[in-house]
């Protein structure tokens, strides 16, 4: 373009206007890039600080509850096992029946009805013979055993010297959780109602487990002997 085509006034203003326009463009780009960077870094810092707070709270809480958690988790796992607790319940009920001087004349097992909270249920029907007070005792004691068991039905025939009873009990189980939450997920201690429930579980009668202590292998010195 021939400069002489433009008037002198325009030619004089062209350079300052050009510089100013270039600077304005630079400011706009700089502002956009700079602001975006600042916003991103600030968000990253806020997230890192939030995670730091969560991790610190978690560390304090876990250190504080560490001594007692093993007993509490065992208690909760026995009260609501991860697998069908049928054998444990049968053993518990038989122990109660024997302790109350009752004779177990029959036993029937069935699957429980649908239960909430992704849990399974097992139904047990027991035919018992004994005195009325002993049956009442059994019914009240069944509620206090672990795994968690409830009396679902009761049929009593009080004709004759001994009371014949058919007691239906229902016990529950639920698979153990398989996934842990992320490390930066916040956790909280047991609340008041959970503590209360745990206290109730603590008084349940636990099944009698037999634990065998493993022994070290012993060398057989006389391999072909008797």
């Amino acid at each position: 373009m021939n400069k002489d085509l433009l008037p002198l006034g325009v030619r004089v203003l062209l350079a300052p206007f050009g510089f100013l326009a270039a600077l304005v463009l630079m400011i706009i780009i700089g502002l956009r890039v700079g602001l975006a960077q600042v916003i991103q870094y600030r968000a990253d810092l806020a997230l890192a600080k939030k995670n730091e707070t969560i991790l610190k709270v978690k560390q304090d809480l876990l250190t504080q509850i560490q001594p007692g958690i093993s007993r509490q988790s065992s208690l909760a796992a026995v009260a609501l096992p991860g697998e069908n607790p049928l054998l444990l319940v049968v053993s518990q009920v038989k122990t109660i029946a024997a302790a109350n001087g009752m004779v177990l004349t029959g036993l029937k097992v069935g699957l429980g009805q649908e239960t909430p909270a992704q849990a399974g249920g097992v139904e047990l029907s027991l035919n018992l013979s004994g005195s009325l007070p002993s049956i009442v005792n059994l019914v009240s004691q069944v509620k206090k055993i672990a795994p968690l068991t409830r009396v679902s039905s009761l049929d009593l025939s009080l004709v004759g010297p001994l009371t014949q009873a058919t007691v239906g009990v229902r016990s529950y189980w639920a698979p153990f959780p398989t996934k842990m939450p992320a490390m930066t997920e916040p956790i909280s201690d047991l609340n008041e109602s959970e503590q209360k429930l745990l206290g109730e579980l603590a008084v349940l009668t636990l099944p009698g487990f037999v634990s065998l202590t493993p022994t070290a292998p012993v060398e057989n010195l006389n391999q072909f002997g008797e």
Binding site: G9, L20, E52, K58, A117, L154, I187
Partner: protein, 176 residues
């Protein structure tokens, strides 16, 4: 020596244009200085933010390492919470349907004149069959049942009199 402008005045730019040009140059310089100052400040701020992020992340890594050693405790707490939530849901439902609500009180109220022959209990319903030799004892027994606040309805299903065994009755009780 005095400056003499030999050019004709209409060949040079106008004075207002020259003033505007000078103002634009000053404005450009000022804007450039401000841009440089703010640019440097932003750069320093971003550097500081980056350093701070690295510090906090390093601290988080240390905390994560400590938490890994406490993983068993965390699993225990998670398990306890999971079990308690499920127990609460299960017992909440089954305790509402407890078939033996007030059953022990009924047995306690049975006098020697009243004898129960059959008791059936299932999901909030209790059915009692029995006999009684005395009308007065039967009234007291029923009164005990009727005034029990645990019961919603008490229905007399069957009632008869037999001179040999006395009053025969059958009650159906629904708990609240």
């Amino acid at each position: 020596m005095a400056n003499i402008n030999l050019l004709p005045p209409d060949l040079g730019p106008k004075a207002s244009v020259l003033r505007l040009s000078a103002s634009l140059k000053k404005l450009t310089t000022l804007a450039l200085v401000i841009f440089c100052v703010f640019g440097t400040a932003t750069g320093v701020y971003i550097f500081w933010l980056n350093t701070r992020i690295k510090q906090v992340q390093a601290s988080n890594e240390v905390l994560k390492t400590t938490l890994k050693s406490l993983a068993e405790t965390e699993q225990g707490l998670f398990l306890v919470k999971d079990r308690l939530a499920k127990i609460k849901a299960l017992t909440g439902q089954s305790d509402k349907q407890d078939p033996l609500v007030g059953f022990e009180q009924i047995l306690g109220a049975v006098s020697p004149d009243v004898s129960l022959t059959e008791v059936k209990a299932a999901s909030g319903e209790l059915s009692l069959s029995g006999s009684c030799t005395s009308g007065e004892a039967l009234g007291r027994f029923w009164q005990g049942i009727l005034t029990n606040p645990e019961y919603k309805t008490v229905e007399l299903e069957n009632f008869s009199f037999n001179p040999k065994s006395g009053y025969l009755f059958e009650l159906r009780i629904a708990s609240r």
